[in-house]
């Protein structure tokens, strides 16, 4: 249960091709995250899998069965929407039971499943409230509850945390990961937030303009990005890119170095620059250093840096963590040093 394959799937709205031919395999029990900047087609891809949009060509297989023409309800998938899409006139209990009611399930069994789901999601005290009387996080949990009770082959999440505040987002992230551990069901999760992708995914699919840029585990993407786009998208703060002469010294069109792979020194180093803004987070300090002839570099220093605005500093890249890219953005794979 829960294996999904896309074969040469395309989607066009009128003349605009949103998704060029695309192949993707999602294995049973995997937590797959589609990540990419807004407008990259990740939500469209999810809706194609859900069946809410028809594919323009290609096939979608769920558990080895061709599901391309199967209506959404029959695909055995459950979706959690960005706006939660709860039914405002129904109580939480009725919201969660709705898919079971539509499946004409025995009322006693409905009640049993709703109670079980409510217990898992800490909603037991709220079952008789309306969605309007709940907080954002609780609504989110109701939406998840409505998905769980169907015992679907796979869960689809469409940016489910984007309407929550930062603290709650971290909590819900943990809860969804926990849920994935306990249910061991395939989950497909769409987000534009690379932190969510890195922390939750078994497998990340990075999309740009409908094209898959790279598929891999979070650490694969972090360590060996296939191209400059993935390198810049994964990791926070963003990787520094340097082009021109400096890059040519390393035999590449562009070199990339992550802020955490820069060594800061006040005495000597590869590049000499001036400290601009320093962001003190306590555990880390982010320094924005202007080096003549380059874009400003972001440097991450553990703990407190002890340098201030206007100080002259030296920055050296850690050679084994240096990424090299060709002019077309592809990564050069051979060892650097």
């Amino acid at each position: 249960m829960g294996k999904i394959s896309l074969k040469q799937v395309t989607k066009a709205f009128g003349d605009a091709e949103v998704i060029p031919p695309l192949d993707l395999d999602i294995n049973e029990g995997e937590f797959v995250v589609f990540v990419g900047p807004s407008g990259c087609g990740k939500s469209t891809l999810l809706r194609l899998i859900a069946g809410l949009e028809d594919v323009s060509s290609g096939t979608i297989e769920i558990d080895g069965q061709n599901a391309t023409e199967v209506p959404p309800a029959k695909r055995g998938l459950a979706m959690v929407f960005q706006s939660y899409a709860l039914y405002p006139h129904m109580s939480v209990r009725k919201n969660i039971a709705f898919p079971l009611k539509m499946a004409k399930m025995d009322p006693a069994e409905q009640e049993r499943r709703v109670t079980a789901a409510a217990k898992v999601l800490n909603l037991t005290d709220y079952l008789d409230r309306r969605p309007g009387q709940l907080s954002g996080g609780q609504r989110q949990r109701v939406a998840i509850g409505r998905a769980i009770v169907r015992e679907p082959a796979a869960f689809l999440f469409d940016e489910p945390l984007s309407n929550l505040d930062a603290a709650l987002r971290v909590n819900m992230r943990l809860e969804i990961s926990e849920l994935h551990q306990s249910l061991a069901t395939t989950m497909i999760y769409v987000t534009h937030d690379q932190v969510e992708a890195m922390t939750m995914a078994d497998k990340i699919v990075v999309l740009r303009a409908g094209r898959i840029e790279q598929v891999g585990t979070p650490l694969e993407l972090y360590r060996t990005p296939a191209n400059q786009f993935v390198a810049g998208f994964i990791g926070s703060p963003k990787m520094n890119f340097i082009t021109g002469e400096e890059a040519a010294r390393f035999g590449a069109h562009t070199i990339g170095i992550r802020p955490e792979h820069c060594v800061l020194s006040t005495t000597d180093g590869t590049w000499k620059g001036k400290v601009g803004v320093a962001e003190h987070l306590g555990s880390d300090t982010f320094l924005y250093v202007t080096v003549p002839g380059m874009d400003p570099l972001t440097v991450r220093v553990q703990g407190e840096a002890g340098v201030h605005h206007g100080d002259t500093v030296f920055i050296s890249p850690v050679a084994e963590n240096l990424h090299r890219f060709e002019a077309n953005g592809l990564a050069i794979r051979q060892a650097t040093a």
């Binding site: 809410l52 309800a73 979706m79 709705f98 898919p99 539509m102």
Partner: protein, 290 residues
Amino acid sequence: MATAHSRAAARLMISPAVLLLLGWMIVPLSMTVYFSFLSYNLLMPGMEEFIGFTNYEFFLTDPAFFAALANTLLLVGGVLVITIVGGTLLALLLDQPFWGQGIVRILVIAPFFVMPTVSALVWKNMFMNPVNGLFAYFAKALGLQPFDFLAHAPLASIIVIVAWQWLPFATLILLTALQSLDQEQLEASEMDGANFLNRFVYIVLPHMSRAITVVILIQTIFLLSVFAEILVTTNGGPGTSSTNITYLVYAQSLLQFDVGGGSAGGIVAVILANIVAVFLMRMIGKNLEA
């Protein structure tokens, strides 16, 4: 309006409007109440005298009154059923994307702009006329006897005419309600396995309930006082079979010149309308809260 000062200022500023509206209502109402206790016939001017509740007694024991009461309720109820059901169906249709949507929507609302007298006359002479009407033509084309709608089914005919006028209003309000429905809710219910009928019953209809309430309230107010359509088509007849309370009051005071009796009828109509309003508010007013 947080402070006591600003509340007082607000009351002061709103009071002229309130007083004007109050006077506008109180003066005619109290004059009607006053007339309703007089024996006041236009054919015998200067003979007015106080006769207590006699006018009410006559009006309320008149067999025409009960016929008119039943007709009024039938008219209001019939038109409401037709416009709400028809309006919902039309709104569902118009909500679908199709070519020429803009023009069709304007055409749909057109009947609302036609004056009641005009539309009633058009219906009477061009559609329902047993000799020259379109329906008679169709009946004859099919070899059937033309049906004289206004003579044999006067109230039903008037219900159709009034419903035709109010259908666009209901359609328009219900269409806007339909368009404000969150698409993700529909998609979610689709994922949950709801077919078209289920989606309509469990998602669309509850969402539209508030708009339906508004349509019922507004239409009831106007439908209780339907007059022009009756005047130009059936004149309340044959007999009293298409007379509603409004028309009865008109007949009493202006056809029989009995101002006292007409005023009593008017007051009765006001009381009845208020009873209907209370029931409506009780039944569906809770839909408007929260």
